[in-house]
């Protein structure tokens, strides 16, 4: 990246270190969270299908990445996030949340414990600055942001691990789900974790740019499909994975979002939002994040009204929506009154004045077979 990257005037987009490779593969770019990101290469449906049937590689370097290290790192992290990260053995990783004092979700994150005293956290790009400020406030000098100096590639699909086993390291084949480790490769280090955001098996790999570029090249040569943000969204939606800023945000709490499983209260450790979450945990829900499927061919989209099918009155708005290429149906999410959120409940979604019949289903919309 050139010197102007850090001196960009407000509004100018940040460029991926591997941008030229994406351009050479025919990427169409679009702005996302202040970055110029590949939206698609061959096409969203082809890319989505490649991830479901073979393997795809995404450049997700826009995600915030920071290290927290030292003897107090675990406790410092415990104090800012909902999951009891002190339970993580070295080499393990876990999903977690940052909540605010009202119990709302400020971001969803992933925490990787590489060593007893070395932790990596990955943040959503849209919240990267606020999230790092939170980490800095808790950990001070122990925190170091590495977003600018690293590249992150997600390799996802039924063939992803086998291909990584060949091009990166046979150790990829012994990595258990959600485990993480640092691998030596071509004289450098690649941090690999068996994690992802597609509903497929696979791994996310972090390395400094020239090494990551070499890894990208090997993966493309091995036939892995380059995949952009367009397919990233349809893949995660089919897998019913929430997107912060859409399905979860500072006004939604983990319990109504179905994320109570990453709130650890039993260890008694204090963390931001704990008091509010203790109160919310046992309170009956006013609303619940539900998953909707269109009963006839239609494209559900965020913002479309969800209606009572008889009265036509509005119950909610879709928080996310798409036509899922693998399930071949319109799918979406919305916060519904709990008594309307039971699987099988018939509802309607208004699309350009027409009431399209939908049904509540149990998540996910798509589940991989293995």
């Amino acid at each position: 990246m050139d010197d102007t990257a850090t001196a960009n005037p407000a509004g100018a987009l940040r460029e991926l270190a591997l941008r030229d490779r994406h351009a050479a593969l025919g990427a169409r770019f679009a702005p996302f969270a202040g970055w110029e990101m590949p939206l698609q290469y061959e096409g969203i449906v082809a890319e989505h299908t490649a991830v479901r049937t073979r393997a795809g590689v995404f450049d997700v370097s826009h995600l915030g990445r920071c290290w927290v290290t030292g003897p107090s790192a675990g406790e410092q992290l415990r104090s800012i996030t909902t999951y009891n990260v002190l339970r993580l053995a070295p080499g393990a990783a876990h999903y977690s949340l940052y909540c605010n004092d009202s119990g709302g979700i400020d971001d969803d994150i992933f925490i990787y414990r590489l060593d007893p005293e070395r932790w990596l956290i990955v943040h959503n790009a849209a919240n990267a600055e606020a999230d790092f400020a939170r980490v800095l406030a808790a950990a001070g000098d122990a925190a170091r942001e590495v977003t600018e100096e690293t590249v992150m590639l997600a390799v996802q699909g039924p063939e992803a691990l086998a291909i990584l086993g060949r091009v990166l390291s046979p150790e990829m084949l012994s990595l258990a789900e959600h485990d993480c480790r640092e691998l030596s490769w071509r004289g450098g280090t690649v941090l690999a974790a068996r994690t992802g955001y597609t509903g497929e098996d696979g791994a996310e790999c972090i390395a400094e740019p020239s090494l990551a570029g070499a890894l990208w090249d090997e993966l493309i040569t091995a036939g892995v499909q380059p995949v952009g943000l367009g397919a990233r969204d349809t893949l995660r939606l089919e897998a019913a994975l929430p997107l912060h800023g859409h399905d979860i945000d500072a006004t939604t709490d983990p319990y109504e979002a179905g994320l109570g499983w990453v709130v650890s209260l039993k260890d008694g450790a204090d963390f931001t939002g704990r008091d509010a979450l203790l109160r919310l945990k046992d309170r009956p829900l006013d609303r619940k994040l539900a998953h909707l499927v269109a009963k006839e061919r239609a494209v559900l989209r965020a913002g479309y009204p969800v209606l009572d099918p008889e009265s036509g009155s509005t119950l909610a708005s879709l928080t996310s929506g798409a036509f899922g290429p693998t399930v071949a149906k319109g799918i979406g999410m919305a916060y519904l009154p709990p008594e309307r959120a039971e699987p099988g409940t018939p509802l309607a979604v208004e699309i350009r004045g027409k009431h399209v019949p939908v049904e509540v289903v149990r998540r996910p919309f798509y589940k991989r077979s293995s």
Binding site: G43, V45, G230
Partner: protein, 127 residues
Amino acid sequence: MEIPTHLRFTSDHEWIRPEGDEGTCGITEFAQDQLGDVVFVELPDVGRTLAKGEAFGVIESVKAVYDLFTPVSGEVLERNESLLDHPEKVNESPYDEGWMIRVRLTKPEELDALLDSTAYQGLLAEA
């Protein structure tokens, strides 16, 4: 990009194939490429009368929704029902299997105001 020479075009990247006092309409190769993967097409009922420039339907890509505008005034005689289940035909075959509606022209003189293939090619070259 080869532009079929027997068609007429609008600056909105629709085409019409005139056939006597009827015409078949669709969107161009350029349009489908710009849209990306088409996942839904909404077409007007047979019998509906359309005025030139009126929105006759909707085409949805993965990321966005767009209106379809009629190149000429006419009455809808037929619509391509196969696009409901196979909207990808618009991407795969925009001038042939991806056709959208067939109309009876009520003002055939409107054809003269449309772009011929050379003029449409010129429009694309400037884009």
